[in-house]
Subunit: 302 residues, 2 copies
């Protein structure tokens, strides 16, 4: 069983390839849709009265359990921002927290026995509060971002003490540890609690550190970058979704999980919102996995 | 047989880890020392009367054939520059071309039958002139840089028409093709002549394109970046040196060559000048190759 908590949002986004308002967004939403390729996750979040019924129908169609989503009287969390040509960095125009201000994650009783738990990016104090509601989670995967590291470092640390796997990008790792060199920073991050660190490097792939050794993963060649929003969330969702289907978590399982993360997020960035992953299926993903292997490794027979 | 042409230089360099003047440098020198791990290359270049006998003795000790190096009356080519903290970009303080102004590469007769030819970075008109001196080279590998693409694009194009493999970094590829997206730029570079493009991405590894498919290679985890000078040259040298030992160049051979390039250049950047690769041996390199494989691929048994 897999439970994901994080935000469900309206995203209004401008990239060099177009402008769209009130797209389906949010860390919990993106992660759940990615995870739903592998599993039927519970999603714990909050939405407002203005939330689009079509969006709810879409999430339901993905077999995501929405019983942990509170529908509140206020307005749905709304993020508005843009990306420049290189799309390396999101620029925020407005963050209307709205119902997020009253978010108090409540994990449905049916999900208390979740074996895998993913905390998408949101307030680390609430991430901790959510994690503590599970009876005996075997794998706690957490995401965070610069904003929380800069403004709520004590909460981040308390949350990380409960985590098994921390997923973040290279800049966030530097900020969290105060160490510029990513390789030197990894043991510092391990010292904060997680047994495993996954560093997302965008167009340069990902790097996993298990406390003693590395797994280095190149990215997928992409010709059409449309909108990077949700890339990191879907990485974490695919990573956790795949692992929730695996009986024993050996090094190989974690490596496969990283590759699924890279593959799914490479689809995410090729469309706005969930457009890039909506038509993705497990079959297509397995085919992409084989192509990835053929492009990134030496032939196994030699 | 392998012949390399390129510069032999004095490098005066400042990085956050130290300052050194008149270090042994130059594209041909770096490439030859890297290639000498695999083969006994001819080096075609020019030096001045002031060139350090110790440096010559070092090159001879590496079994590099120096009969193609002209010793001229002037002063040795001298590059002076510095790197900022992130070491992503070299900043030039002075370029004293000196004897390079009279460089007219003359390939020794004994090297005319070279099977593999590497043109390290120097004037593309002279690269072409050097290539044309070989009787029947089976593999012509070429390097170039921004300066020539910006100032001598016609010479670069004429030289590329004779090349089998072009090695360059991502920025240079963008500049050469006018295409921002690296993946889209690759076919454009192929259209200029080379059958294969190898894109160096520094701390993010490398990418090879053979006209129809990709080989994606992550970089080696490095904790101590001392001086990036020569990283690209030693990449090209190791790549070409390894290939000169291989009877048949199938896709696997080229993939191994890219990995040797990554491994050797990862040593180059851990010291000034050739300090990082001086103590490297083929045995150590093979061990590094196995470690690299174990860190970058799925176990072959699964």
């Amino acid at each position: 069983m897999l439970t994901i908590s994080g935000t469900v949002a309206f995203d209004s986004i401008r990239t060099p390839l177009g402008s769209h308002s009130k797209l389906l967004g949010g860390s919990g939403m993106f992660a759940s849709v990615a995870a739903s390729l592998f599993a039927q996750p519970y999603l714990v979040s909050i939405i407002g009265q203005d939330f689009n019924p079509d969006y709810l129908a879409f999430l339901t169609s993905r077999k995501i359990d929405l019983s942990g989503i509170k529908r509140s009287d206020g307005l749905t969390f709304h993020w508005s921002g843009f990306y420049e040509k290189d799309m390396g960095q999101a620029h925020t125009l407005a963050t209307d927290l709205n119902v997020l201000l009253e978010f108090d994650p409540l994990v449905p009783t049916a999900a208390h026995n979740s074996r895998v738990v993913l905390m998408g990016n949101f307030d680390p104090a609430l991430q901790k509060k959510a994690i503590l509601q599970f009876k005996k989670p075997e794998l706690v995967v957490v995401d965070t971002m610069n904003f929380w590291i800069e403004n709520s470092i004590d909460d981040v640390r308390a949350m990380l003490a409960l985590a098994d796997v921390l997923i973040l990008n290279d800049q966030e790792l530097r900020l969290l540890t105060g160490v510029d060199n990513v390789i030197k920073a990894l043991p510092e991050a391990i010292a904060l609690g997680p047994k495993r660190i996954v560093v997302k490097k965008g167009e340069h792939g990902a790097l996993m550190y298990n406390g003693s050794d590395y797994f280095m993963c190149p990215a997928v060649p992409i010709t059409e970058l449309v909108d990077p929003t949700g890339a990191g969330d879907t990485f974490a969702g695919a990573f956790s979704g795949y692992l929730s289907t695996v009986p024993v978590w050996d090094e190989l399982a974690f490596r496969r999980a990283v590759i699924y993360g890279i593959l799914v997020s490479s689809h995410t960035v090729q469309g706005f919102s969930v457009d890039g992953i909506k038509s993705l299926t497990l079959d297509k993903l397995e085919a992409a996995f084989e192509t990835y292997k053929s492009r990134s490794m030496l032939p196994t027979s030699l």
